[in-house]
């Protein structure tokens, strides 16, 4: 399954009510480091079935960015059972992204 594009319309259903953990990547087009991390996040979305992967474009979804107190991107948040379980700011290698979810 590939990464889901998250909006304020589907966030509740796809993330907060999800039965499996969800890795959410908050990013923007103008952010260089975000564009380094995006392909890694999408790749993980293709490969893993034990958790979901979603992305939030902070320019298109400022309310979501505000709601989760995003003040630096790229920002990865792992949600588990409707709650924030882990958070990481900046570019990290693929293994570290997977660890973030599996150790959440």
């Amino acid at each position: 399954m590939s990464a889901i594009k998250l909006t304020s319309d589907n966030f509740n259903e796809e993330v907060l009510m999800s039965g499996t953990p969800v890795l959410v990547d908050f990013w923007a087009e103008w952010c260089g480091p975000c564009r380094m991390l995006s392909p890694v996040v999408h790749e993980i979305g293709e490969e893993r079935t034990d958790f979901k992967v979603g992305t939030v474009n902070v320019d298109e979804e400022p309310e979501l960015a505000e709601k989760f107190g995003i003040s630096s991107i790229p920002c990865l948040i792992v949600f588990n059972g409707g709650k924030e379980a882990k958070r990481s700011v900046g570019v990290i290698p693929k293994d570290a992204v997977i660890d973030l979810v599996t150790n959440a």
């Binding site: 260089g32 480091p33 995003i70 630096s72 991107i73 990290i92 290698p93």
Partner: protein
């Protein structure tokens, strides 16, 4: 065994990968985080010859693809030590792998200098930032502070003053080292306040930053300034601690080498911001990459 191991996939490391491979050498690149180095944080590069207005991300990606196109192997592992056995260099990584090569080029670059304050690391992304152009938009209409007095600090403050309600510029001295024209521009901004001869001494935060404690270096007086964001721009530092036993470091931790990019240790070369030098720019990083690669190739032929 690889001919040359290059530690760091920023502009210096990637350029050395291109030159080494074109000189017939096989190359293994080790990168601790992501390719590109510091330049990926730059929205627009305006001082690289013949490539005006290119974004840092675009530049890094093109360079990475170019280096890969000659067949370079890349592993995303941090190098933790360099040892030697019978003229063979052994590079150990964070994943406990040991890679062998005939020569090593260290191109680990530099990173933002932290303030060294309590909770600084924990508050990154929760009020502390080292990149105004990356994170500035999240502080729209809020009060923020910039700590530093060099070019980066002045540019950051100018950038932030366009979006933020108020920008405090906290600087240890009463004069600025930054570009004089930019300093004048900044002084003219109505929402900018200078806090001079002062240094940030504590971070006040519950789950995110709410204020900074500033100490006046002359009077010793402490005061709190309420801000939602603190942009730290107090310079760069190298990240060469892992190689202290393999090469000579200067008093600031940079690897000692002259324009030939040779270190004092046979078979170990150095390129880019991580070496002792006057000018740390994209062009000089690329130049070092070429020089180090050709020196390494010549020594191993």
């Amino acid at each position: 065994m690889t001919d040359i191991i290059i530690i760091g996939a920023g502009p210096a490391g990637l350029t050395s990968a291109i030159y080494a491979q074109r000189a017939g050498m096989s190359v293994l690149l080790l990168e601790a985080r992501a390719y590109g180095g510091q330049i990926i944080n730059t929205p627009e590069i305006d001082n690289y010859p013949a490539m005006p207005h290119v974004s840092g991300f675009e530049f890094a990606t093109k360079l990475y693809e170019q280096a890969r196109s000659f067949g370079a192997e890349v592993k995303f592992e941090a190098a933790v030590s360099i040892e030697e056995n019978n003229d063979i260099k052994l590079v150990k990584t964070s994943k406990n792998n040991v890679y062998e090569a005939k020569a090593v080029i260290i191109a680990t670059g530099a990173k933002n200098r932290p303030m060294g304050l309590d909770r600084e690391e924990e508050l990154i992304g929760k009020g502390i930032s080292y990149c105004a152009t990356c994170d500035g938009m999240f502080y729209r209409k809020k009060d923020v502070a910039v700590f530093g007095g060099g070019n980066t600090a002045i540019e950051d403050a100018l950038f932030l003053s366009q979006y933020c309600n108020k920008v405090y510029v906290i600087h240890r001295r009463d004069k600025f080292r930054g570009d004089a024209a930019d300093v004048e521009k900044l002084k003219a901004r109505e929402n900018v306040e200078f806090v001079l001869n002062s240094t940030v001494t504590a971070l006040i935060a519950e789950d995110k930053l709410s204020a900074v404690e500033v100490t006046d270096k002359i009077s010793g007086e402490k005061k709190q300034i309420p801000v939602s964001g603190l942009f730290v721009a107090i310079g760069q530092m190298p990240d060469n601690g892992a190689f202290a036993n393999a090469v000579e470091l200067d008093e600031n931790g940079y690897i000692t080498a002259n324009e030939s990019c040779r270190t004092k240790t046979k078979g170990i070369f150095v390129a880019g911001d991580c070496r002792t030098k006057e000018v740390r720019q994209l062009t000089t990083a690329a130049a070092d990459g070429a020089v180090a690669a050709l020196a390494a190739a010549a020594c191993r032929r």
